[in-house]
Symmetry: C2
Subunit: 420 residues, 2 copies
């Protein structure tokens, strides 16, 4: 195994990232390349070319996950590293895409060390670009890694349709990315991502080693009212679903304000309003509402307080609030051995680091449930994410690739096997 020093940084990832950022580029400096759109197809073709030129074999599994495979020991399992290239509409350039490109560079560097006789990997190497992590065009999010890890059924994923009725299967076929099979067998997984928060920046630290996820309670709520004329219906007669939904949005914010001393994030960011006419009181609003905290009991208490508000909101707007779906999870940890391995690697590279939790979901959250998994963060300037102004400095971009290379190298030689 090898170590890199800060003096011999390979900065080619920066120029490659500039190229990658051209796909689906928006005038505001971001990208719009939702899953299996034309822009997604174009960037996948670019990545395939990049990988093939460096000796990787590219293949797609039955869920549209894109793999770049390098077989060192025929039949051995793979150290898999990657993230996702798909973006939100008017998303940032770094979310996901940085992790895929960093993984490609890291895997290529590890392969180079092997070819030069400086590393003796025990496992094969795979770069992965997971399909549809964002979930904005096709729900749910993290679709590709969910199929790979057996959390959702492949047929359910492929038959999911977007707002225009196009299925995942059709969209993937349209960009030539619907493969077969279940992808390479993983021995371990590593992912790097921008933090999407301010913690690393505030602390002046380059690397976050993710040790756990925040707890969350997520609802899909349906507010049932009744249609009426916006002009002539008297106020006491109205059963206004949009008023009910708005009261829920405000109540969610008030919950977060009540927990000012403990971290609680509450959000409503999507509504489907029926009939959504300027002259018809809404009969139905379908909305997502979520509560997240690093402390499980805070989520539980916030959830109780939210439920306690329902009756008052139902009475005021004369609506009925239905919980269509509810998902919750507690604080979930990544394997401590992976955290230790990553911190040791950062220490050896002379990079500043700290343990950190992830608020957002990542494909690594799925992967950690099936194989030893490492998740790394680099800082987000101003914590901005899911926004065209998402930014991470080139120095941090390069440092992240250096660390990921070191982590993948250590995973490839089986260091985690020995320590776990």
């Amino acid at each position: 195994m090898t170590t890199a020093s800060k003096t011999d940084l390979d900065r080619s990832v920066v120029t490659d990232f500039q190229q990658l950022s051209q796909f689906g580029a928006t005038p505001g400096g971001g990208v719009d390349r939702q899953a299996a759109t034309e822009a997604d197809g174009a960037q996948r073709a670019w990545l395939a070319e990049w990988l093939v030129a460096r000796g990787f074999r590219v293949e797609y599994d039955r869920a549209g996950n894109q793999f770049g495979l390098l077989e060192i020991h025929p039949g051995a399992p793979y150290v898999v590293t990657g993230s996702h290239l798909d973006s939100q509409p008017l998303g940032g350039r770094y979310d996901g895409a940085y992790g895929v490109l960093a993984s490609a560079h890291a895997a290529q560097r590890v392969a180079q060390q092997w070819r030069e006789g400086n590393l003796a990997p025990k496992y094969n190497l795979a770069v992965v670009n997971w399909f549809n992590e964002e979930g904005c065009r096709f729900k749910p999010s993290m679709m590709g890694s969910s199929v790979y890890t057996g959390k959702i059924d492949v047929e359910q994923a492929l038959s999911t349709t977007d707002r225009d009725g196009v299925s995942v299967a059709e969209a993937l076929s349209g960009i030539g990315c619907l493969g077969s099979g279940t992808g390479p067998q993983a021995a371990a997984y590593a992912e790097i991502h921008i933090e999407q928060g301010r913690n690393l920046e505030n602390d002046g630290i380059t690397i976050g080693v993710v040790d756990s996820t925040w707890a969350a309670q997520k609802y899909e709520l349906v507010v049932h009212g009744d249609q009426a004329h916006t002009g002539s219906a008297t106020m006491p007669d109205r059963q206004d679903a949009l008023l009910g939904a708005s009261l829920l949005v405000v109540a969610a914010r008030e919950l977060a304000e009540d927990f000012a001393t403990a971290p609680l994030h509450t959000s409503v960011s999507q509504m489907t309003i029926e009939p959504n006419s300027p002259v018809v009181i809404a009969r139905e609003v379908r909305m997502h509402l979520d509560l997240r905290s690093p402390i499980e009991s805070v989520v539980d208490l916030a959830n109780e307080r939210l439920m306690a508000r329902f009756a008052e909101i139902e009475a005021r707007a004369q609506v009925r609030i239905e919980k269509a779906t509810a998902h919750s999870w507690g604080v979930a940890g990544y394997q401590p051995e992976g955290v230790k391995l990553s911190m040791a690697a950062a220490e050896d590279l002379g990079l500043t680091y700290r343990q950190i939790m992830t608020v957002a979901g990542h494909d690594s959250v799925n992967m950690k449930d099936v194989v030893p998994t490492v998740m790394l963060f680099v800082p987000s300037v101003d914590g901005i994410s899911h926004n065209e102004h998402e930014f991470t400095t080139d120095d941090d971009v390069c440092a992240g690739v250096d660390l990921l290379t070191e982590v993948v190298a250590r995973l490839a030689v089986g260091e985690l096997d020995r320590t776990s």
Copy 2:
């Protein structure tokens, strides 16, 4: 001129109305026949056939308004009577459609009186089905009558597109209803409509003679925030456009509650949320907000109080509220001579009646600004409207046609000319 007594009611309008209600019928008992859709085309063809079978000539003007013309004195202007057949999505059967069918029956009965030598009209007769009164597929509402009365430009109307990018011109051509010319010259206009409120029902009265419109202040507001990750963005960092919009919805309702002693109707029923993703804080919400009252000063005061809330809402949600468009109108009267003529006709027919204001807009609101105009209401059961459960009893349906017949006959002989 003739009078009808309650004993010789012609109830054929009831069976015709059952037929008409089949077009775009919904499982819930309503209709979905938005402007220039297939269902709208089908009902227009049905109406054309009905009119032609009774000696009317059917033509379309350049804005897709459908006319059934009966020329009694070549070159003379027309007494025009009608309403609109288009509906809201999941709308009721009566809104607009009742008025068109009532007008067709009234004009046919007046023509019959003329043919039998019992009436000597001075004017020709026209039945009209105005294009796109509802404004749900193409904005603005009352499009056909607005073009007819010169309030909006025909080219602007024809180039308006729906959410799928289909223009009015394309949609009208698609159902064979894009004509040329400016339609018949009107001498007077009469319309009948369901009340869409509870006043007539509460008072046990059959006929409302509309004397004026409510005052209104309507806004299109744009709430500007900024995209961020719903999970990881800290609460103080969020510039949440959907929170800002929700606070506006609640503020609008609070305004109405504050005016509990004076009638004030406030509504928000439509929002366009960007990007409307479950994991991205909304960067922008576009919404309609309106304030209506029969008392102009109440609208003015409510408007002041609403404006006074903007700064607080902007601060709380960290957003900017833009007034994209603002329209207002005061209490506007129908010609008193038309009100008098209608009340005299109701009196002669032995129908109970009262003067009433209209909260909702109607094509007659446009027409009253160019020719003497009569607007009549029949009761709505429970005041329900823009809803599949909209209902008016058959007795009221028939009584309305009787009165409209009498009004059209009186307009046709020029009675309003003598009294005005």
